[in-house]
Each structure stands twice: as C-alpha cells, then as structure tokens.
Amino acid sequence: MNTEDFVSGTAGVRVTGLGVSGPSGQFVAPFDFSIAGGETLALIGESGSGKTLSAKAIAGLLPIGFSAEGRIQLTSGAITLPASDAIWRATRGKRISLLLQDPFTSLSPVHRCGMQIGITIAASRDGKISRQDIQTQVVERLTEVNLPADVARAYPHELSGGMRQRVAIAAALATDPELLIADEPTTALDASNQGEILDLLRRLQVSRGMAALLISHDLGMVRGRAENVLVMRHGEIVERGATSRVLRAPDHPYTRSLIEADPSLTGRAAPDALPISPADFLVTATEVSKAFGDKVVLAGVSVAVGRGETVGIVGESGSGKTTLARCIAGLEHESGGLIEFDGVALAPGRASRTPAQMQIVFQDPYSSLNPMMNVGKSLRLALSVARRPASDVPGLLDLVDLPAEFARKRPAELSGGQRQRVAIARALAVRPELLICDESVSALDVSVQKQILDLLVALRTELGLSMMFISHDLAVVRQLADRVYVMRDGKVVESGSCQQVLTNPSHPYTQALVEASLHPPATQTV
C-alpha cells in the first residue's frame, strides 16, 4: 500500500486497521488513514463501495448485524473497535460528530431548529448549562453558519434545503468535535447550493482546526476542498494521495476511469450545432403553461426539437423541466399553449398521441420496470403494441448491449444500469421518432452514467433518433446535446447551441449553474 504520510501536525486523527464486517462476511478490508487538525480527507467511492459503512463505523453507528475492527486515535484518547456503548456515548458528539446526507430527514420535523441545536449544546456539557446560556449559544452557532437568529424559532419544513443543511451543520458542530465526518453532505441539494455548503464546511473546519472526513461519490467536487483523498472500491482502498496529485496523475485504472467518466473533469465539449429551419422541427411546444392549483409550474414555455436533433433542457428541481416533458408526452394536461408533432397540433393528454411518436425513459431505474414481470414479458408487451413479433426480444436486448438470457430475469435481479438499459429497450420497441430522457442517468453512479450516455449517443446515430434530454446536470447535457434550453421557475431563461450557452452564458442564472457544475471553485488556500 502506498505510504504517503498525511500527518503534518500533531493534533488530528489517526485510524489504523479500520474494517467492517457484516452478516455475509467482510465489507470493508482494514485500512489506515490519518487526518491532521484543520485538514480534510476525502473518501471517494460509488454506491456500495463501503464508504458510508466506514463512516458509520468511526461514529459507532453501524446498522444491526455489522461490526467494526480497528483503532481510532484522537488527541483526547484512543478507541479500540468494537467499542462498548458507554465508550461511544462518551465519544459521539464531543469528540466525533457525523453530518448526514439528507437535510430533509436528518432534523426532527416537529421540533424547532433552535431546540435541536440547543439540546446538542446541553448534551455536550452534560446538562450543566443554563437555559439563558443555551439561547445565546444557539444564536452564535446560527450566525456562524450565516443564518439569522430567528431561524431558531422555525421548524425545519419552513426552511429551504440549503438552510436546513446549515442548521444541521450548526447542530453537528455544536459540540465542538475533534473530527467531523460529513457523509455526502450536499448530494441531496440543488447544484447552486452545493458549492456554498461545501465552502462553508471548509471554512468552519479550517478556522476551528478541526479534522474532517468528507465522504463523496464525486471526485470532481473535492478538488480544492480536501488536502488528501482515498478512493474506495468494493470495500478496498485502491488509491490514496494528495488531492491534486490524484486528480492530475492517478495511479489506479479505476481512479482514472472515474476521472474520465466525470464530465466536469474532462471538459469535452459538444460540437457547434447546425442551424435548423422551422420546417425541420419534429416537435414544437409554444407558450405552454401549466398550474397545479395555485402553483404555476410552467409560465409560457416554448421549445422545439428538430428532426435528428438532441435538445437538452436544464434546470434545477422545481424549474418545471420535467412537467414540460410530461406535457409533451401527454402524461400531464397542459393548461394552455400549443404542442405540435410533425406540424399537427396535439390535444392535451395521451389520447391524441400514438406510442410510435414518442417514448420516455424515466429517472428512477428501480421503479420504471414492473417488478412482477420479467424483462422478456415487459419487452414483449411493448413489441406487441407496435405489432412486432416476440422473436424481436433478443435483437432489442442486443441493441442495448444486454445478452439474450436477460429476457428471463426479473427486475429485482438487475443492477440500476441494467434496468435503465431495459427501460431504453422497452422505449425503442415501438420505434419512436422522439425519445424523451427525463433525468435518465441522474440516479446512476458516475461510471454507469457514462456507459448509459455512450449507449444513448450510439443509438441516436444508429437509429436516427430525435432526443429531448432533461437534466439538472449541465455537465451531463453537454455530452450529448446539440442545443440547450435553460429553465428556471417555469420559464426558459436562456437557449442556444450547447457550445455557446456553456462557454458564454448570458443569463446570470446560467452563469451560476455553469460555475457550480463545471468549474469547482478553488477554495482558500490552507
């Protein structure tokens, strides 16, 4: 194993021989690391790599049935794993604190934010603190994470995702721990919030001289935000070293494939789109509007997809991009505006549309296939709609690079990427002219994302498909879109060729998005 020594100061954390075993054997092979006070170590891995289990092992919060081994050396003493409940009670909070991924669930919904920070302060002093002092401290802690004092009176549901994660950070740090473990702290947030939260964490960690372990699936995100990085795969560390070195010259092929798969790190740009004349438009949506009750989701949106063209629609959650796609597909009834296919106006709803016009590939691979049907049955159903014979199933599977035996498998036996391939095959079974991809790769791991995107690019050329590609991730859209529409609050704020929008965004919102997703900011030097 590589022995680059991370420890630069005496304060900090040294973990030796950390391993995790579960009901069916070892999940994480023993590994060592150390983090100096005031420094961050990033632990990178895809889902199932064992990174979250490692984090939970250090916080003593492994699920039932899992056990840890190893030794954690903190400034204030050492813990040998597995440790007793009594030791963990004395350790968690005061010495090691853990920040979770989802701010929507990590705070109790029926308690005020101030109370949740306050009880943490009280617990770290073993209750020996007056109410008055708690109140004062809560306000100080909120100020530290750039929140106004009256947030203390608010319930979590009254705050935005970014604000909630700030409250959670204030609560996690209320005990002044020596080590903070942040488990994917921004994955559940919108792109524009992610950078801010990470930079806030970085600032707090540096100013307190605290050690931090940042868990992430995203190698690009840790650039400039961690001194050192560990890359984990199938429960083993495959690469370790200084962040800049690993990003520049990775040793291990897996790390290299992660860097290549990460669109924000490769900087591949789409070619300039050829101008398309209105006569070549396959689908046009003109001034489409939609409201759910009082809530306006689409406020007059116009987009068009040319024949053989791939159009990207980019926006954060709540921007209306998915609703627009659903209106075009007829799954949602628009309240106003006009949708035309091949020059013919379509009435709202599915009844006016045929399967061969357009198909959708949905976001969540785990629920987009009927769990009660095997792959072959799902595909045969789709084929029968287009009056194609059941014998086309193997050819269809081959189209998405799956072996013919997959016809007999149930969705539960497939991985996320395989399911998404089946979903694409089902959509193509009726030979649609337009393929709508609604966040089709955003639930997948980076390396799988890349494979699916490559597949889509190949299919587009092979079948001459027109595509509408919806995503919150500019970096993904850049890989295959000819033209891009940027949506915000139910409106298109910017559109143009992919190249132009990404390299020279004119709208401030697009600029912020480009900034957030394509160029991770270089942070303060330590």
């Binding site: 579960g22 999940f27 597909a329 549309r353 399967p355 009927n370 769990p371 709609v385 009726v430």
Partner: protein, 285 residues
C-alpha cells in the same frame, strides 16, 4: 444510508425458505379446523339433538368425553358440528369483502374523479360507525339469519379493503412503470388490472387473511349476543352463551369453544402477518 441497504440486499446470502414454528403450528391448527368444518356434520350428525334427557354431565363422563350441556347435548359432538357454522361465514366474509375491495378500490384509486369521491364518502360513513354495533343493530332489528349476516358483514368489512386497495393502487399508479404503460397507449382497464393490480396483490392477500381472523371474531361475537345464528343451532359462539350459566358444572362447555375461537383467530392472524412480511421481503411489492 441507501448505500448500506443496497449492499445488504445485494450481498445477503439467499436464505432458504423457512417456516417459523408458530406459523407452522398455526397452519396445522387452521388445516385441522378446515377439515372439521368440512366433515364435522358427518362425524357428529345428531349433535344438536338431545342424547340424554335433561342430564348435565361433567367432562370425562363415560361416552361423553367433554360432558354434556344443560339440554343433554354432547359437548364434543356439538363443538365438532359447530365448526362449519363458525368458520364458513368468516371465510366468505373475508373473500367477499376482498372482491368488493378490489373492485371499488381499484376503480377509486385509478379512475379518481367523482367516482372516487362517492366511494370515499361511502367508506367514511361506514367507518364512522363501530362495525360490531352496526352489525348488532341491523342484524338484530331486522332479525337477520346466517346468510343475511354474512352479507351484512361483507358490507361492513369492505371499507377497510377498499381503502387498502385504493392506497396501494394510488401508490403504484404514480410509479414510472405505469406511466411507461401509458406511453404504450394501453387501455385503462388493461393498465389497471394487468400492470397495477398484480403489484398490490400481496397487500390484498395479507389483508384477506387478517380479515378471516376479524370476521371470525365478529361472527362469534354476534352469535354470542344471540344475533345472526338461530338459537339451538351448533355454533361456537352460541355454545358460549348457552354454556355460561353451567360453567360450575361443566366448564368444558364454555372453555373448549372459547379456546378454539381464540386459537383459530390467533392462527389466522399469525399467518396473515407472516404472509405480509414474507411477501414484502421477497420484493413482490
């Protein structure tokens, strides 16, 4: 979080199908009860007729293992013959309310609109009345017989089935695989019964099993109160009413049917719970 779960699901060794002991015992008890219900009247054809005039015998009397009741009827024969009356009704109630639940629940959940509203208010209304009270009042005032009571209980049981199926259908109907079926322009009925309903089936089967237990309780409660089952017929609930006053002389006349009711209801409940857990675990839902 999801990370850990994914690992556990992927790598957990495939466990062999194992039946917990209490579920096995429950199935044996239910099987025996079903057998008694099927052939009970053949074994004890004259259970309701008096074998000895006005003789109340304690358990263990020669020729009468469990003794006789006030009217001189053999308790063992009466209990065996009473099985079908105690069990057939509840099973039909569970099946009937399941069918009603599937029909109305699927329509309400998938078609929505005014139909859903009407069905919703109907279940609200039935829910606002305690079931047993409604059954007692309606069956009592109208002097309902056995089969009328079955129909009445089907109606009174159906709201919970309707709500469960409706909720399951609503949950499934919002899933992408249903929308994928819509993208294929399949008909509403085909999507509803071909795509959505199979995914709710484990919920429905589990609930039907639990309903057998609750219907057994409701049925025997009614006959205990003297409603639904005519006096003098062989039925476990009825035996309890009749036997209460002779508890001193022949406790078996009360305890045997009472313990049978408790046992069968517990068994049906255990099997229902187990079905629910197993079916969700194997990812059928």
């Amino acid at each position: 979080m999801t990370d850990t779960v994914a690992i556990v699901l992927d790598q957990a060794p495939k466990k062999r199908f194992r039946l917990p002991l209490e579920v096995l015992l429950s199935l044996v008890l239910l099987g025996a009860a079903a057998l008694m219900a099927a052939i009970g009247t053949l074994i004890a054809p004259d259970a309701t007729s008096q074998s000895i005039l006005d003789a109340l015998l304690p358990p263990g009397s020669p020729g009468h293992l469990l003794g006789t009741d006030e009217l001189g009827r053999d308790v063992l024969a009466l209990t065996i013959a009473g099985t079908s009356s105690a069990l057939v009704g509840p099973v039909i109630v569970a099946l009937g309310s399941m069918l009603l639940g599937i029909l109305l629940g699927t329509i309400a959940g998938y078609v929505r609109g005014p139909v859903d509203f009407l069905i919703g208010r109907w279940t609200d209304l039935l829910f606002s009345l305690p079931m047993l009270l409604a059954a007692i009042v309606v069956a009592g005032v109208f002097g309902a017989g056995y089969w009328m009571t079955v129909v009445l209980l089907i109606v009174l049981f159906s709201p919970s089935d309707i709500r469960i199926v409706r909720a399951g259908v609503l949950e499934q109907a919002a899933r992408p695989f249903v929308e994928a079926a819509q993208m294929l322009s399949l008909s509403k009925a085909r999507i509803m019964f071909g795509q959505v309903l199979p995914n709710v089936s484990s919920l429905i089967i589990t609930n039907a099993m639990l309903n057998v237990a609750f219907a057994l309780v409701a049925f025997s409660s009614l006959s205990f109160l003297g409603v639904g089952v005519p006096a003098g017929s062989a039925d476990w609930g009825r035996q309890l009413t009749d036997g209460r006053s002779i508890m001193m002389d022949n406790p078996a006349a009360v305890l045997v049917p009472a313990l049978l009711i408790i046992g069968v209801a517990c068994a049906a409940n255990l099997v229902g719970d187990w079905l629910g857990q197993t079916m969700t675990r194997t990812g059928r839902v």
